[in-house]
């Protein structure tokens, strides 16, 4: 009896799963040439960037753009993995493969401390930078002081709000978000003593629908200027403020296209100085003992990018002036934004 062709379908389907899986977390190596090329008399550092999400996500886009900029300047040979597995075992495998492939520097753009420590132990020659709580000899920490920019955003919020109620929503109560929301509130209170802030933790980093709901709940409680922390919360927040026609601030990247009239600006996180410093340390053999890389407002690591299409309210000129003064004071070290990371 002739075998029916469709008997083979499960096999094809299994193949499709593998291909799709490989594509989803596939290597995006656009052939920047072999390692060890000379660029302006410098050896290129073989670097791998591992991202927890797709480059359409603001968090991952910032990491991707930072590394790409270094590649364009001829500093590094870059390999990229997007949408890496989120679990420790999965991401350890990805990092270990790059370590085995002879990469000198692994940029692990998420809170991957356990995986980084594992790989650092297995491959003592490799250098890793990630978001962690502890340093190891060859594992450096990337700090993300976006709370500094959130403080400036808060000052504007304090000037814009008419209801004296502002809101902030985040994926979970982690130090990054806690510090961002606290700084936003502190900034607002600096210019407007009566401000009351509503915080919501939605329990999910990707669920934009839930993020939108959280912001809507704050709007119903009277909030008229809001901020968010996390991809899903921020995307949902942008949609909610557009519908209710109130003001808000974008998160991590320039989100102004999401709600062009409603976003006063975006809190920006720029990875280029971070990656640049790590690459320089690898090249000069000064990576170890590993250090904390922190680039705040003064060093171009974070910024508040205003959106010139914003059209909900007039930003009071004196508040804008005060904000710019404080920005200069932070940059010069004269003023330090209080860092409240929670417990």
């Amino acid at each position: 009896m002739r075998r029916k062709w469709w008997r083979a379908v499960p096999i094809w389907l299994a193949t499709a799963v593998l291909v799709a899986g490989a594509a989803g977390c596939g290597d995006d190596d656009d052939g920047a040439g072999g390692g060890g090329e000379q660029a302006g008399g410098q050896e290129k550092v073989k670097t791998a960037l591992v991202l927890p999400c797709a480059t359409s996500d603001p968090w991952c886009k910032q990491g991707f753009d930072g590394a790409k900029a270094l590649e364009r300047r001829g500093e590094i040979d870059l390999e990229v993995t997007t949408s890496a597995p989120q679990d420790t075992a999965g991401v350890t495998r990805v990092l270990a493969q790059y370590a085995q492939g002879g990469n000198q520097l692994l940029l692990a753009h998420s809170t991957w401390q356990d995986a980084a420590f594992d790989v650092a132990e297995q491959f003592p020659d490799v250098n890793i930078a990630t978001y962690a709580f502890e340093l190891r000899d060859n594992v450096a920490i990337l700090e993300e002081p976006i709370y500094q920019a959130a403080y400036l955003a808060g000052m504007l919020a304090g000037g814009i709000t008419e209801s004296n109620t502002i809101g902030g929503s985040a994926g979970q109560d982690v130090p990054l978000c806690h510090a961002e929301l606290e700084a936003f509130e502190a900034g607002a209170k600096r210019v407007n003593k009566q401000v009351k802030m509503i915080d919501t933790y939605i329990g999910d980093w990707n669920d934009a629908a839930k993020g939108k709901q959280a912001t809507q709940a704050q709007i119903d409680q009277g909030a008229d200027v809001v901020i968010a922390c996390g991809g899903g919360p921020a995307t949902g927040m942008a949609q909610a403020i557009k519908e209710a026609n109130i003001s808000g601030f974008g998160y991590v990247g320039d989100m102004s296209s999401q709600a062009p009239k409603n976003l006063v600006g975006s809190v920006m996180y720029n990875l280029e100085p971070y990656f640049e410093a790590a690459v320089k340390d690898v090249r000069n053999d000064s990576f170890r003992p590993a250090k904390r890389y922190e680039f705040g407002l003064a060093d171009g690591g974070v910024d508040l990018k205003l959106n010139d299409r914003y059209a909900v309210k007039e930003i009071p000129a004196d508040v804008m002036r005060q904000m710019e003064q404080v920005k200069d004071q932070i940059a010069s070290g004269e003023f330090k934004v209080p860092y409240e990371a929670g417990t």
Binding site: G21, S83, D199, I202, K210, D220, G232
Partner: protein, 322 residues
């Protein structure tokens, strides 16, 4: 904390109207899943069908500029994945659990791949939303009116379809066939009801409902697509079918109850002052699951009998299954 800010008449209307709107994608998928399971097929691919419906409806709405065509495309891709599930599970009689999980993995991989290829590294694309429509006369009904009859067109369509599918299952000849092949496929086959054909149709309905759920999520609420935008709604829907004891109307009610407690916990956080509140936020986050679980246990104890279709998950072979 002032409870009237949550349960006062005005606040309650806002709370209910947003929670039914946000629960709709889950509700659609759950009612579709009820049809498939009543026919005896456990469709674990629901999350993938939602996600594929979300992406395809978004892309069509973005490039063609029509929300209506986007919705149709979302349903269509759901039906296609339903057909794939039916082909594997009914025609080839392979393991349903594996098929369902494979469909979720394929959908997660492919949607991300396509979205990255089209928009990776660029500004996130958005589409124009659709506005709410007040149904004349009906929206004047106190209480119910503002909650149910001041929503967008997609909401009315979804509600009508969910209720229609419930009627289809309980009040029509086709529904009787579906229930028969789910309880006793051999007996159904003996009375000239084709088990394969009925299960195929049930899975197409299920896929279409889940695809519509994805379209409602993206076109009716978010106006953007994101990686894993379905956020586990397909898995919640599968749990809701068990919670609703395979009764489509109870499943629909369960979906709205889950949506309500979820909206409620967010609202309670906002009213009580979030991190300033003395209650940890994790307690709020657990609330929808605790309430749903409690109701499920209560329902099972009260009903006192097993409602699960007898042939659920069992492939049918003529002359083999007794």
């Amino acid at each position: 904390m002032d409870w009237s800010e949550i349960f006062g008449p005005d606040a309650l209307v806002v709370l209910l109207s947003t929670s039914v709107a946000f629960a709709m994608p889950t509700a659609l998928a759950a009612v579709g899943e009820t049809v498939a399971e009543r026919a005896g097929v456990l469709n674990l691919g629901l999350e993938g069908m939602l996600l594929a419906g979300a992406l395809v409806s978004f892309l069509v709405a973005y490039y063609v500029g029509s929300v209506a065509l986007g919705t149709v495309a979302g349903v269509a891709i759901g039906v296609v994945l339903g057909a794939l599930m039916a082909f594997l599970s009914v025609s080839l009689r392979t393991e349903q659990i594996i098929n369902g999980i494979a469909i979720v993995l394929v959908a997660q991989g492919i949607t991300l791949f396509v979205f990255e290829k089209l928009f990776g590294g660029e500004e996130q694309p958005t589409i124009a939303g659709i506005s709410d429509v007040e149904v004349p006369l009906l929206h004047d009904i106190p209480g119910v009116g503002p909650v149910v009859f001041e929503q967008n067109v997609l909401f009315y369509l979804s509600l009508a379809l969910a209720l229609g599918v419930s009627l289809l299952l309980t009040r029509t000849r086709f529904g009787l066939s579906v229930r028969a092949v789910g309880e006793s496929p051999a007996a159904a086959e003996a009375t000239a009801v084709s088990v394969a054909r009925t299960r195929w149709l049930a899975l197409l309905v299920c896929g279409g409902m889940a695809g519509l759920g994805g379209a409602v999520l993206v076109l009716g609420q978010l106006n953007v697509f994101e990686e894993d935008v379905s956020g586990g709604r397909g898995w919640v829907a599968i749990a809701l079918v068990i919670f609703g004891r395979w009764n489509p109307l109870l499943v629909l009610g369960g979906a709205f109850l889950f949506g309500f407690t979820d909206a409620l916990q967010i609202r309670v956080q906002a009213v009580s002052g979030g991190i300033a509140s003395s209650v940890p936020t994790e307690i709020f986050g657990a609330l929808p699951y605790v309430v749903t679980l409690a109701v499920m246990v209560a329902a099972t104890v009260l009903a006192g009998r097993d409602a699960q279709p007898a042939a659920l998950g069992v492939p049918f072979r003529k002359g083999v299954n007794a």
